[in-house]
């Protein structure tokens, strides 16, 4: 049941990325190009997503298990440190170069795009490099 819920959540997420235009790198670059002919549309994606997400987290905070009985795994990390800022900045540079972030790239892969395949392969390599550097040192902190 939780597996099916995972699949469905991924599917709805992907549909949202497609409907909104987030899955289209040209649209993303248009949003990031403030100094050119700016297309602010994608700011509205955040508005819609956070409006729903905010309510969901209010509900989630009052529970210890999910509606399907799974443990609630909420992030515990609160520190704003160098890793967070430098990592996010490096991510933002990569996002600006191609217009792909992880979710849209995987959706684009589902369209059979060979460019998305190149990007996703490189992204996995980047993540693997992180594992290689970090694994011997210490357990990675909880996500987000």
């Amino acid at each position: 049941m939780t597996l099916f819920a995972s699949l469905l959540a991924g599917l709805v997420f992907g549909l949202g990325l497609l409907v909104s235009g987030m899955a289209n790198p040209a649209k993303v670059i248009g949003f990031l190009d403030i100094a050119g002919a700016w297309d602010p549309s994608l700011a509205f994606v955040m508005v819609g997503a956070i409006a729903v997400g905010f309510v969901a987290f209010v509900v989630a905070r009052q529970r210890t298990v999910s509606f399907l009985g799974a443990d609630m795994k909420l992030p515990s990390q609160r520190r704003i440190d160098r890793r967070l800022i430098v990592g996010s900045t490096v991510f933002g540079i990569g996002w600006g170069v191609a217009g792909f972030c992880p979710g849209p790239a995987l959706v684009a892969l589902g369209t059979g795009s060979s460019k998305a395949l190149v990007f996703v392969a490189a992204m996995l390599a980047g993540m693997a490099v992180f594992e290689l550097i970090e694994r011997p040192r210490r357990p990675t902190p909880a996500h987000a």
Binding site: G10, V19, I29, S41, L42, G48, A56, I80, G96, A144
Partner: protein, 144 residues
């Protein structure tokens, strides 16, 4: 600053954003997890028992989204302007950066801001700033 009114499409962006919010809410309230794509993918690179199937199911959902979308509308047209070299560079930066920064547009941008996390706000400002800055440098300073 000039606005590209031809490309401006706030309603699909808002609607798609609502879908993304619904997906994040489902994942949170049914599976007890944060819909952070880089984290879901990254966890597959250090597989632990009982920790693989839900990740794979979510990512499969993302990848089949275009096929499902195409059954309601035309096949999604995504435009990628970056060449292969830029895609490899971007993918490496996104993979490495999202793991060091513990999240991407979904984990920090959507989920983190929805739960009013100062840490995620800092990360979002960092990657948005870097994205805007990168496009400015590439398009307007280097003329690429």
């Amino acid at each position: 600053m000039t606005i590209d009114w031809n490309a401006f499409a706030p309603w699909p962006a808002l609607g798609g954003g609502l879908l993304i919010g619904v997906a994040a809410a489902m994942f949170l309230l049914l599976n007890g997890r944060i819909a952070g794509i880089s984290g879901v993918v990254g966890g597959l690179l250090k597989p632990a028992r009982g920790d693989v199937a839900w990740r794979a199911a979510f990512l499969l959902g993302l990848a089949i989204a275009p096929a499902v979308y195409a059954s309601f509308a035309s096949w999604p047209a995504l435009r990628v302007e970056a060449g292969d070299g830029a895609l490899v560079l971007a993918g490496l930066l996104v993979g490495l950066g999202t793991r060091y920064g513990s999240g991407c547009t979904s984990g920090h941008g959507v989920c983190g801001l929805s739960r009013l996390s100062p840490r995620s706000l800092a990360a979002t400002l960092a990657f948005m700033g870097a994205g805007f800055g990168t496009v400015f440098v590439l398009r307007h300073l280097l003329g690429l």
